[in-house]
């Protein structure tokens, strides 16, 4: 059953040997040249599966992977019951929102500490599951890197997702995320990354003075 038509992939909710699973199929994109399309779908399928399990090893909850088919570009993974953070963030009390963001920040910090860049940090890609567990999903743009620049871009994407989708609370959320992030990566590193985020913003079109 098609559960969600994503930007990159179709998500099917299926029964897999008695387990409730998500089959994430990276469907061909007719707008792209097949040479470009095939390579993107293949490499993202491989990367996503690899980095999802690396993230889990680093202590960041991600769905369990059951099967990868590189040729047909799909991944079968655990179905995580819960709500996307995007849907609930604006509805929470200020206190709960700050707590949630702080925990998100800690998880991002944990990823970065393990040399993992998520590559698409938005509240659409986080699920609040059972027992308040936060799952990170959509690792298609993820990569291994310890560069400050990559970490900065990651945090910058998160910041912009807050400013565009959760604008009434963007500042409060970002501050809490950075507070959580700092706990995991130490003051010095967090400062470096935040400084780089500012530089990335300044580099943007028509920013600065």
């Amino acid at each position: 059953m098609l559960m969600k038509k994503g930007a990159e992939a179709n998500l099917y909710l299926e029964d897999w040997y008695g387990l409730k699973v998500i089959k994430k199929v990276r469907v061909p994109k007719p707008y792209r040249l097949s040479q470009i399309d095939n390579e993107i779908r293949r490499s993202r399928t491989v990367h996503e599966a690899q980095i999802m399990s690396d993230a889990k090893r680093a202590g960041v909850p991600t769905p369990i992977i059951y099967l990868i088919d590189v040729k047909r570009t799909f991944i079968v993974m655990e179905y995580v019951q819960g709500q996307r953070v995007k849907e609930i963030l604006n509805l929470l009390s200020s206190k709960d929102r700050k707590t949630l963001c702080r925990r998100i920040g800690m998880l991002i910090g944990q990823l970065h500490e393990e040399g993992i860049i998520h590559g698409d940090l938005t509240t659409s890609n986080m699920i609040l599951g059972q027992n308040e567990k936060i799952f990170f999903i959509d690792f298609g743009l993820a990569e291994h890197s310890v560069e400050i620049e990559k970490r900065g871009v990651d945090i910058h994407l998160m910041k912009r997702a807050l400013e565009s989708t959760h604008y009434p609370h963007a500042k409060e959320c970002f501050t809490s995320i950075i507070a959580g992030y700092t706990i995991k990566v130490t003051n010095k590193k967090a400062e470096e990354v935040v400084k780089r985020v500012r530089e990335i913003i300044q580099r943007g079109r028509y920013s600065g003075t």
Binding site: A7, D120, T122, L141, L157, S164
Partner: protein
Amino acid sequence: MIHQSIPEKPLICLGIESTAHTVGVALVSSKGEILTNVNAAYTAPIGQGIHPREAAQHHCEVIPTVLRRVIDNLDIGLDAVDCIAFSSGPGLGPVLRTGATFARALALWLEKPLVPIHHAIGHIEIACLMTGAEDPLVLLVSGGHTSIAAFGDWFWRIYGETEDITLGNLLDVFAREAGLSFPGGAVIENLAKKGKNYIDLPYVVKGNDVSYSGLLTAALKRLEEGHAIEDVCFSMQEIAFSMLTEATERALVHTERKEVLVTGGVAANERLKNMIVSISRDHGVEAYVVPKEYSGDNGAQIAWTGILAFQSGIRVDVDKSFVKPKWRLDQVRIPWR
């Protein structure tokens, strides 16, 4: 009692565009009629880009002719105008100041209020007027902008954008370095149609963001290595547009908008248009593309947005009508949406 409605006289705005290579003057009514739209463009010599001072000089020289043609096109006098709108930013400083000086002079001479307009908002509003899009996810692609935005609570919210150069920049700088004419979009599009072989080039998408500077360097390198310019143009377009289409599709799913609107100079490109139409169909949303005539910079985009702004009470005193070379789209409060 019988109510007899007296037809209200529509407002007329004279808009002046002057942010980059185009200087334009247009008159638009509050009914959305374009009464006249006269534009003139500065063209750089082959191998060169826009020189801000020379573009300003060009605009200064052609403004009287442009204004004369505007007046000749009209059966009303300029005193029928209700306000003067001008592109107060963002853009090239000298060019902005030339347009602003002209706008101030007209406002003082005609004794009409002056309305400052953000150039990019102009691209969006003229596209909405022409296509009927109401609350779209906007893909703004031009020399100055490469942004994916949607409206929410008085502001355009940016969901994705370029992290370095714009799509228009990529095309223009490639054209300049390859010895093609400026602006480069149309020339590159034509060459790309003759390209057959795909050459591998870097594809950089970061969430809903794109980065084009690496692609520019790589494309120029391929050219230097002796690849046919048709093949390089073809491959560069394919990569650049695919990146942006992917980012747009991601923003579309995230924002759950029911319309996509492409506007700005690069919206004239057929290949990009087809890609956006393809993802829109796939997600069952309406795709709108600004008509070619209004894709590049033009006076009408400023005049029409001038109407909307003026009706919302936006105006500026001449002595405070500074230009803003740097002015982000997401910093403009929009009272009319």
